[in-house]
Every structure is written in structure tokens, then in C-alpha cells.
């Protein structure tokens, strides 16, 4: 019983970690690939084209 509870708590913790990791990763990809700031666009320009993100 106790082990089952601990195990499900661990799974819940892992899901929170996964959510944080996803949010961080998606924010990074958004910044390099999609953000509309002119400076970010210019800095990441060749990367956006090269990784086939929509650009210009």
C-alpha cells in the first residue's frame, strides 16, 4: 500500500518535471524560431531558414 502511494507520487513528480522541461524547451524554440522581435529575427535569421521555420 505504502509503496503504491510512493510510486504514484513519484509518477506525479515526474510529470511536473516533464511539464517544466516542456515549457522551457517550447519557450526556447519559440524565441529562436518564431518571436517577432526584429532583433531576435535578425540574430536567428539563418537558423530559422535553415531549420525550415517560417521566416520573413
Amino acid at each position: 500500500m505504502t509503496t503504491a502511494v510512493t510510486h504514484s507520487q513519484q509518477r506525479a513528480d515526474v510529470r511536473v518535471v516533464a511539464l517544466v522541461a516542456f515549457a522551457f524547451g517550447a519557450a526556447l524554440v519559440f524565441t529562436t524560431g518564431f518571436a517577432h522581435s526584429a532583433m531576435l529575427h535578425s540574430a536567428a535569421h539563418d537558423t530559422r531558414h535553415s531549420l525550415s521555420f517560417p521566416c520573413h
Binding site: R11, F22, L51, S52, P54, C55
Partner: protein, 251 residues
Amino acid sequence: MYTRVFAVGLLAGLLAGLIVALLQAYTTTPIIIEAERFENASPVAPSAALGGFREARLILVHSGHDESANSAEASEWAPADGLERTLYTSTATIGTAVGFAMILLAGMLAAGDKITEQSAMVWGASGFVAAGLAPAVGLAPEVPGLVAADLIQRQQWWIMTAVMTAVAIWLFLRGQNPWLRLLAIPVVLAPHVWGAPHVALDAATRVPAELAARFAAVSLAIQAILWIATGFFVGLFWQRIGASADSPDDR
């Protein structure tokens, strides 16, 4: 656990990003710079005598981001060609790779998968299908200077297609029930039936078709390498960093 996830994601993204940045410097960036000669060419330039044309274009490239360049882009800051441009591109590529690594880790942790080189490379290949191949079917990778539809519409379609393809891959590979697996087919097709935003095909572009085609093929290969290399390093470092600190059943 957070330390392990972030350490693995940062390291894997850094290494995969460095490899791909090196490849970009010799594959996609030269094509982009070549295409920008056509993109930035002033309307007068193409009428120049053929003999002096090659030299005239060379001047245009180097003045591309300077004062005399085309008026729309002249006011925007851009890294100078050469080392500065390579550094910015490499940094952006590494940033994207870290992002991909974190998304792969998030997916595998949420799914409860064992994270090894093999499993992470399969996740990476799926990432490429979702974020590379499927959006490219509607919006072929673009070299600068092509005429394209509204940016926001293209970005929205791109994100919708990547998300729906990822969901379809999940349903098909992990669906317990045959109906869920069947559901993957309409989900993967829907964004393409809806249709990507396009402009009329006769819209004028000065970029040669051969250059655009070569760029589309090379950039897809580059993105495939980025996803698979990121997956490989995620698996490699997950097995080697902080494995003992987490509980044994924590993979």
C-alpha cells in the same frame, strides 16, 4: 531530478547544436547568402550589362546590411557577414537544439519511457517527422527572397501541423485501442486538407528555382540531423549524468 533534466538537456543541445552549426556554415548559410544576392538586388541591377553583372552582385551582397542597401531592411540591425553572423546563427541553432532536447526529455518522462540512446533517437526521429517533414509538405523550407504568404498565418499553420502530427504519431504508436490508432490518420491529414497559406504561384521572385530546391532539400536534412543528434546525446547523457542520484525505478 530537475538538475539532471536541465544538465542533460543543456549538454545534449549544446553538442548537437554545435555539430549542426558547423554543418550549417558549409551547407545552408552559403545558399542563404547566395539567395540574398537575388533578394537584395535593386530593380536596376538585373538590367546591368552581363559582363559586369557578377561583380555588381558581389558589391550588393556586402552592402546588403549597410547604409546603401534596400530601404526596407537598411534600418534593421543584423549581424555583419562573416564571423559575427556565424556566431549569431550558431547560438540560435544551439538554443533551438536545447529546446528540442528539453521537449524530447519532457515527452519521454511524461510517457514513462526508459531514456537510452536508442529510444531517444526514435523520439528524435518522430520530432523530425512532426516539426520538419509534416510542415514542409505544406510550407516548403524557404530560402530568403521567395514570395510567401503572411508570416503569422504561416507560423500558425506550422505550429498546428507540428502539434497535430505529434499527436497522430502518439496515437498510432501508443494507442491501446485500434480505433485510437485509426484516428491518427485523420489527425495527421487534417492540417493538409485545411491547407497551408500560400500566395499565387505566379508571384514574382528573383531567386532561381534550382537554388530554392537545393535549399529545401538541404535544410530538411539539416533538421533531421539536428533532431537525431539531439536524441542521441539526450540518451547518452541521461545514462551517464546523475543516474545514481535518482531512485532506481526512475530510469
